[in-house]
């Protein structure tokens, strides 16, 4: 752990207003990102991971921070006004998004879009900004960078557009880069290229990174620490290698087991997690994972587990830790192919598809 964290998310709550009243997408989330550290926030859809990332920059569309603090370098961003917030965005904290196909303005050349990012925070001439844009494009591995300045987004492939997004994000040498599923929309070989690029540039620019992803493989590859989200809460966090090798929360263990990997035995079922991710309005009482948990007992439906501090800078939100010490979490074994299948769970109520970012 770093002595003075760069980003401290402290008991963050985010609410979205819907036609049926407000729903809480993030329910008291806390974690930190140290200088030059890479922290992965991992979870499934509806876990609140993307909403948390957007809340840091206050880019929530239709949502608002309803509680808690987001401290960057000691200053609470949650209480900043729009004007002050704009000086942080793109300057101290930059962000890249999941879908490179739609994240660039189709009507402006990529040169314009990089120069704009630069000139919003730096008093440089257009000419100097263009030179810097060429340099940035070169750094992100864009072939023929000078000529590319005049290209429009539709003339680039998905991988190249994501490179442009990275160039825009790095334009003002931010201290924190938030990457929201940066490779999800890309093919595997391009994903490998982009992850390598992010890793290299992060070292070069001495930038910290908050990586939001659903992909444990990506987490394993580049994160120093991992924060596991479920149902709008942090259920486990700690150094990546330890969490992945020896998960302390039953959800983390089950999620890792459910991923097909090169050695998955074909004569066995995949150890699926039964049921579906709960809808925001229908969060179970007690532990939010209890209806799907293989290890749950009566207490889990009644008692809300706190985040227990574990040795090695780890935390886990599971009642198994109540009596002290590590839990005996084991991943559920893979059943034989002919065994009963895990149930699909009861039909959900209308999922909240109208709000973006949930």
């Amino acid at each position: 752990m770093h002595p003075q964290p760069l980003l401290e998310v402290d008991d963050l709550h985010v609410e979205f207003s819907t036609a049926d009243g407000p729903v809480e997408a993030v329910a008291g989330v806390s974690f930190t990102v140290g200088p030059e550290e890479t922290v992965a926030v991992v979870g499934e859809s509806g876990s609140g991971k993307s909403v948390t990332a957007l809340a840091v920059l206050k880019l929530l569309d239709g949502g608002r921070i309803s509680g808690g603090q987001v401290r960057f370098d000691g200053e609470d961003l949650a209480s900043l006004d729009n004007r002050a917030m704009r000086r942080v965005r793109g300057n101290d904290i930059a962000m890249i998004f999941q879908d490179p196909m739609t994240s660039l303005d189709p009507l402006y050349s990529i040169g314009h879009q990089i120069v704009e990012a630069l000139r919003l925070h730096r008093p440089v001439s257009k000419k100097a900004a263009r030179e810097r844009a060429v340099e940035l494009l070169e750094q992100v591995g864009m072939p023929d960078p000078r000529r590319r300045l005049a290209s429009y987004p539709h003339q680039l492939s998905g991988g190249q557009r994501q490179r442009v997004m990275i160039a825009i994000a790095l334009a003002c040498s931010p201290r924190l880069l938030i990457a929201d599923e940066p490779t999800t929309a890309l093919d595997v070989t391009i994903e490998a290229q982009i992850l390598e690029l992010l890793h290299e540039l992060q070292r070069e620019y001495r930038t910290a990174m908050l990586l939001v992803t659903h992909d444990m493989g990506v987490v394993a590859e580049i994160a120093d620490r991992v924060v596991v989200f479920y149902g709008g809460q942090v259920v486990e966090q700690g150094p990546t290698a330890q969490v992945l090798r020896d998960p302390q929360h039953p959800y983390t263990a089950a999620l890792l087991a459910a991923i097909p990997h090169p050695d998955s035995a074909k004569e066995l079922q995949l150890p699926a997690i039964p049921g579906a991710v709960p809808a925001l309005r229908d969060m179970p009482t007690g532990c939010r994972f209890n209806p799907r948990c293989a290890m749950a007992w009566d207490d889990c439906t009644r008692e809300v587990p706190p985040l227990y501090e574990l040795p090695g800078g780890r935390t886990s939100r599971c009642l198994l830790h109540r009596d002290g010490g590590g839990s005996a979490v084991v991943a559920p074994p893979a059943p034989p192919l002919t065994a009963e299948l895990a149930p699909a769970g009861p039909p959900a109520r209308a999922p909240l598809t109208t709000q973006k970012g949930i």
Partner: protein, 349 residues
């Protein structure tokens, strides 16, 4: 493990004629230009693809976007008309049949899409969604069709209580189960799964993969399985075809192809797969430079040669033919394999 159709790794292809036999399948989309809309070129989406699917077998189709795998899926179902080539289903040529002649065959071949919810009419109940193909095919209607729908829901792990609900009331995984139930309604023998689990959360994806495998065992289904997640394809497939720029560059038993790839492109893909995260990470993948060229302007010779670390002069002039590359009917289209043969290894062409 002696589960019925469990695993046929490295065994010879199933005896008897394959359920589906695709030979030299080609689909070119013309690019037109000018006053008279004359054709100035073609997007070679599929450029001479051959493979077979045995009864009860799963064939995985992998490749990057633009490789033509989804076009192949649409061609074998005749949702698109092929430019040339042959598609035989159960011995019958279907590439040249008219839509009218195809109709009775359609009940044998169904497709499951990536996003089930958008392929359902939001105002139709689950019952009508599932019974629609039954009524369209004139198989059954009314109470009979409803009973069949209830049976199908039960089969895919949902309940007959869900019959009168609407699509938006289900989660993504449940909606995909409904998509599978609809595809199974006509008792098909071949199911094409086009990125059928790609949009699902990991925990739910495993449920649906398990369901697909259970249905295969119980119903003797064949699958043509398309996905970009190579671990998923490898887990579910008996055999894998690797596509690049409209061609199959390598095919063979799933594990063999992924653990011991013979084509440099397959090696690239296999190297780009993330390791099992439970090892704790820290491993980096093999990174290949460059991106796949556009299928409207494919390079001459081997389509992979501009990115291939092992390319030599022959690769830029001559399109490599599929060469035998190991047991289980493996083939790979790479000139390097030919050199091995020339150098005296006992591999006949």
């Amino acid at each position: 493990m002696a589960s019925p159709a469990a695993h046929r790794e490295d065994t010879a292809p199933a005896p008897g004629p394959p359920l589906m036999e695709v030979t030299d399948l080609v689909k070119h989309f013309p690019i037109t230009r000018g006053l008279l809309r004359r054709t100035v070129g073609h997007v070679r989406a599929v450029d001479g693809v051959s493979f077979t699917i045995g009864a009860g077998e799963t064939v995985g189709l992998v490749g990057e976007s633009g490789s033509g795998k989804s076009t192949v899926a649409r061609l074998v179902l005749r949702l698109l008309d092929p430019t040339s080539g042959s598609v035989k289903f159960d011995g019958q040529e279907i590439a040249a049949l008219s839509q009218r002649e195809l109709t009775p065959l359609r009940r044998n071949m169904q497709i499951v899409f990536q996003d089930p919810v958008s392929s359902f009419d939001p105002r139709m109940t689950i019952c009508s969604v599932i019974t629609e193909p039954l009524e369209a095919q004139g198989i059954s209607s009314g109470q009979q069709a409803r009973d069949r729908a209830a049976e199908l829901l039960d089969l895919v792990g949902l309940s007959s209580r869900d019959l009168d609900k609407y699509p938006h009331q289900f989660s993504g995984g449940q909606a995909q189960r409904i998509g599978i139930a609809r595809a199974l309604a006509t008792n098909p023998r071949l199911l094409v799964c086009d990125e059928a689990v790609s949009a699902l959360d990991v925990s739910v994806q495993a449920q649906v993969l398990n369901l697909l495998r259970k249905l295969q065992v119980e119903l003797g289904l064949s699958y043509l399985f398309i996905a970009h997640d190579l671990n998923v394809v490898r887990y579910i497939s008996d055999r894998i075809c690797v596509m690049y720029l409209g061609r199959v560059v390598e095919q063979g038993p799933a594990d063999a192809v992924m653990t011991d790839p013979k084509h440099p492109y397959t090696r690239t893909l296999a190297g780009a797969i993330a390791a099992d995260p439970r090892t704790g990470g820290g491993t980096r993948r093999v990174v290949v430079r460059g991106e796949m060229p556009s299928p409207s302007n494919p390079p001459p010779g081997c389509p992979f040669h501009p990115r291939c670390p092992q390319a030599f002069d022959r690769c830029s002039t001559e399109v490599p033919a599929p060469l035998p590359a190991g047991e289980g009917g493996r083939t790979a289209s790479c000139h390097l394999l030919d050199i091995t043969a020339v150098n005296g290894k006992a591999v006949g062409r």
